[in-house]
Symmetry: C2
Subunit: 130 residues, 2 copies
């Protein structure tokens, strides 16, 4: 049986995808896929998403070069979330951090701190004028 | 500045939360929080969620005993996803697996396989009559 039959896309035809670095276990980012972007991800071995804000299909790294090679695709008990293990080239975050989850709440329960080094600036990645 | 000011809840007042086992790095589950459940999570040190299907506040483990002790709360660049590091008691998945992501797509790109042992049956966890 195809794993697609186990998946439930939401009312907008989307399913959330958690992207994890297979080697380090670091959760890198979170984005949405539709069926076509998932099929493209399976077919090419590179992650493809659906941008809800831009209503546009995109390949991770298409402008930055920071692509993600797919190592495994897992899905949850309810079939409504994907967990994709990848090998990440460069920074997953468009702000130049390895992971998008670079900020953590501190012990006081309200303040927060940046917890990892910024590998590149957005200007390094996308060019100054963007 | 409070980290709450950095967060963007969606049109329904919800934010997705990825739950990760701090020790092993295994992604355990994915669920939704509203501001009240996040505040409760911060205040009690146990994860609390909002059930979209039941329209109900719930504490993870309230019926199963499989609670999650919060070790860290991280949030992404856009402030619209939480990554919560926990210490998991027992099985995170209501189907008795350690992680909800117990199934993985196989090399053919369509078939799938259960990749981890079922620690308990749902009957073990919730009782036979449920």
């Amino acid at each position: 049986m195809s794993f697609y039959d186990q998946l439930k896309f939401d009312a907008n035809g989307l399913i959330p995808a958690i992207i994890q670095d297979q080697k380090t276990g670091r959760v890198l980012m979170f984005a949405w896929m539709n069926r076509a972007s998932l099929e493209k991800t399976v077919a090419t071995g590179k992650t493809h998403f659906w941008s809800r804000s831009r209503q546009k299909f995109w390949m991770k790294g298409e402008s930055s070069g920071h692509t993600q090679a797919v190592k495994a695709i897992e899905f949850d008990c309810d079939g409504d979330v994907l967990l994709i293990q990848v090998e990440q080239i460069g920074a997953a975050c468009h702000e130049g951090y390895r992971s998008c989850f670079f900020r953590a709440v501190q012990k006081d329960g309200t303040s927060y701190k940046i917890m990892e080094p910024q590998l590149k600036t957005p200007e390094d990645i996308y060019g100054e004028k963007r």
